[in-house]
């Protein structure tokens, strides 16, 4: 993913290092005391790494081609994910539909709440203070830095993920992909478009790997 937008100061690196050290120390102690095992850590890390934006892209592509699925997705995101055999582990997923009149943007100002079951691990910028502080206060400026320029006739709805819900944006289906299969459509759905910082890919612009999310 391109990462070319400017940043202000982020978290004090020494502080971050302290918590990284603490996390390692706790992990080692848990293993040493036999409470958890190295294998369990490895399995869990692998599980986390196996989840990624391709899961969300499948849901979006299906919603673009199947209006009944889309209705179910918007009324109960978690159930619609499970329908496609995507486990949500009790996550309460709310899906936000972008239209020509409404653009949705997701942020967690308090930490880094993110629909990890559907999108995998959040990008670093999502967890850092500049994005968290600015997305709520000057969302149009932030969107512009991601290359998303919206007219004032489009309302920007920001969603601060402060508690128990998790959010997935249903991007606007781009024009120029009429008649495409679900798999081909899924390749247009980027992680960033499901956070709401950008649009789905333009199908009229050829890409090097059409079928694979980088």
């Amino acid at each position: 993913m391109p990462h070319d937008h400017p940043h202000g100061p982020t978290i004090d690196p020494e502080r971050l290092l302290h918590y990284q050290n603490m996390a390692t120390a706790v992990r080692e102690l848990l293993i040493e005391k036999g409470i958890l095992t190295e294998t369990l850590f490895e399995t869990k890390i692998k599980e986390m790494e196996d989840r990624g934006p391709a899961l969300g892209a499948r849901m979006i592509a299906k919603a673009w081609t199947d209006s009944e699925y889309k209705a179910r997705l918007l009324s109960n995101g978690s159930a619609a994910a499970e329908e496609l055999s995507i486990p949500v582990d009790g996550t309460h997923l709310i899906v936000l539909e972008n239209t020509k009149d409404i653009h949705n943007l997701v942020v967690c100002t308090l930490c880094s709440c993110y629909p990890r079951n559907i999108l995998g691990l959040p990008p670093d910028w999502y967890k850092k203070r500049p994005y968290r502080a600015r997305a709520i206060k000057e969302p149009r400026e932030v969107l512009k830095e991601f290359g998303t320029i919206l007219p004032n006739s489009t309302s920007v709805y920001v969603h601060d993920s402060t508690a128990d819900m998790r959010y997935l944006v249903l991007p606007l289906r781009p024009e120029g992909a009429e008649g495409w299969s679900e798999d081909d459509l899924a390749a247009l759905v980027t992680r960033d478009s499901m956070i709401g910082v950008s649009m789905a890919k333009d199908p009229t612009i050829p890409t090097r790997s059409k079928k694979k999310e980088p």
Binding site: H92, K137, S155, H159, D160, T162, M165
Partner: protein
């Protein structure tokens, strides 16, 4: 705890000062919005974070605020909004 505020109610976020683990960001305290939806009952993170049981469960809402009412210098459309999850014990009825 029963949900007190139906969808569409005008509510004001409590402006109280707090310390510790809260899920109500400071920037929204004192602001008035509209209940967008009821999210169900959830354990209270303010005690859950400290080894407590988080009970009684608190009704959680998504409250919608108009951006220009949250930030006096907001640049954008008058219909731009901000939805935030807020627990009932942080909400008061607004006129």
């Amino acid at each position: 705890m029963k949900p007190l505020f139906p969808v569409g109610s005008r509510v004001q976020v409590s402006d109280r000062e707090t310390a510790g683990h809260m899920r109500t960001p400071r920037y929204i305290r004192g602001k008035t919005g509209i209940v967008e939806r009821q999210c169900g009952l959830f354990r209270n993170p303010e005690t859950l974070a400290y080894g407590g049981d988080g009970l009684p469960k608190q009704p959680l809402y998504r409250v919608r605020f108009i951006q220009s009412e949250v930030w006096s210098d907001y640049i954008g459309s008058g219909t731009d909004s901000l939805d935030i999850e807020i627990y009932q014990h942080w909400l008061n009825p607004a006129d």
